[in-house]
Symmetry: C2
Subunit: 220 residues, 2 copies
């Protein structure tokens, strides 16, 4: 007998990611994939962003976690269109979870969709979700060696946010060493250095988010 | 025809973990699995520990990372017996990697083996390495909500270290909220609150490490 081999999970994921990309284009919604380690400030950055832009544009959010609806609850104070995706034991979002999440949102009414990935610097880099722009949130207390140790994540992103710059006086973090590590992997990557706590440096990030929504999916 | 099903990866991992436990008992080496998110300070805690105890006991270290020998190089300043395990794309150590790592160390000459896992709060909790004690390193800037969001990791550990307590005045972190989250998942878990940067709170941790080596594998 000939034994048929079932195609691998990553291949199926890529096919569903393509379906997501088609659905986003049909709704003309640009989609941002926000990644970063646990506690880097992904949810805090979303809170700041939604709070600042709620009157300017309609942002939908899908937020991924192993369990609980904590992040969605935090974000619901600033946004009508938030859904939580619980991944159980899985350390990353996959395209099918995003597809199901999109099904819970009024996609045609949105200007922008932001997907907050599970807190992890490794596996999210390997799973295409069908999103248009990959953003990595790094944070100062994680240390300046992270680009060197997680090269796949740093290499694959379109935009880098360095959060918690207000802690620079209190931790050993060599900004030049961090930047050199980033440049070696991802030359010229657009970078925002900011603090969600103090608000320092947020304006250029907000301008960039506004531009994403205006650009729509045509240029994605 | 009858199609045989190949046993799953986790099952095989558990069998190799058992082999590791046997090898550790034969060498009479207690083994600690050090886990935590990226940048929580696992390597810094090891540096402090090896530096303080190098004249008292012989500690071997296996340090896991996706790539580079950075952590092993940092630790080699304080320890003769360090090997780096590179996991490639994998977000956790598995028992076979630890088995191979043990093969590079003079196990019979050691009092204690510390395994530094890959920076990740999710998957390391699911892979038994054959180690005797699971230690989680949390850090203040990650935020006080982490027990609630990563329950599997917090529930499964024998010891918790809360690092970077020197940053408490500079970040929003409610120690009581954190402790309540921990207690709900892992009642009475032994906890060390310390700062690898300032040295505050390190002595009780060092006493605990000394006691691990003295206890040997008989009580493990």
């Amino acid at each position: 007998v000939e034994i048929k081999v079932v195609e691998n999970v990553l291949k199926l994921n890529d096919e569903v990611a393509l379906l997501n990309r088609v659905a986003l284009r049909q709704a003309d919604v640009k989609c941002v994939n926000l990644m970063g380690g646990p506690g880097c400030g992904k949810t805090a950055l979303l809170e700041r962003t939604l709070e600042a832009l709620r009157d300017d544009m309609r942002i939908g959010v899908l937020t991924g976690d192993l369990t609980t609806t904590r992040d969605a609850e935090r974000l619901a104070h600033h946004c009508e269109h938030v859904s939580q995706i619980n991944t159980g034991k899985s350390c990353h979002l996959d395209a099918n979870q995003v597809r199901q999440g999109m099904g819970t949102l009024p996609m045609d009414d949105l200007d922008l969709l932001i997907v907050e990935n599970v807190g992890n610097l490794i596996c999210p880099a390997s799973f295409d979700l069908g999103t248009h722009v990959n953003v990595l949130v790094a944070s100062v207390p994680e240390g300046d060696d992270k680009p060197y140790k997680y090269p796949r994540m740093y290499r694959g992103v379109d935009v880098l946010v360095l959060n918690k710059v207000d802690l620079l006086p209190h931790v050993p973090f060599d900004v030049e060493r961090f930047r050199r590590g980033v440049e070696a992997l991802n030359e010229g990557v657009r970078t925002f250095e900011l603090s969600c706590r103090t608000g320092e440096g947020l304006d250029p990030w907000l301008d960039w988010i506004r531009a994403q929504a205006r650009a729509g999916t045509a240029r994605a």
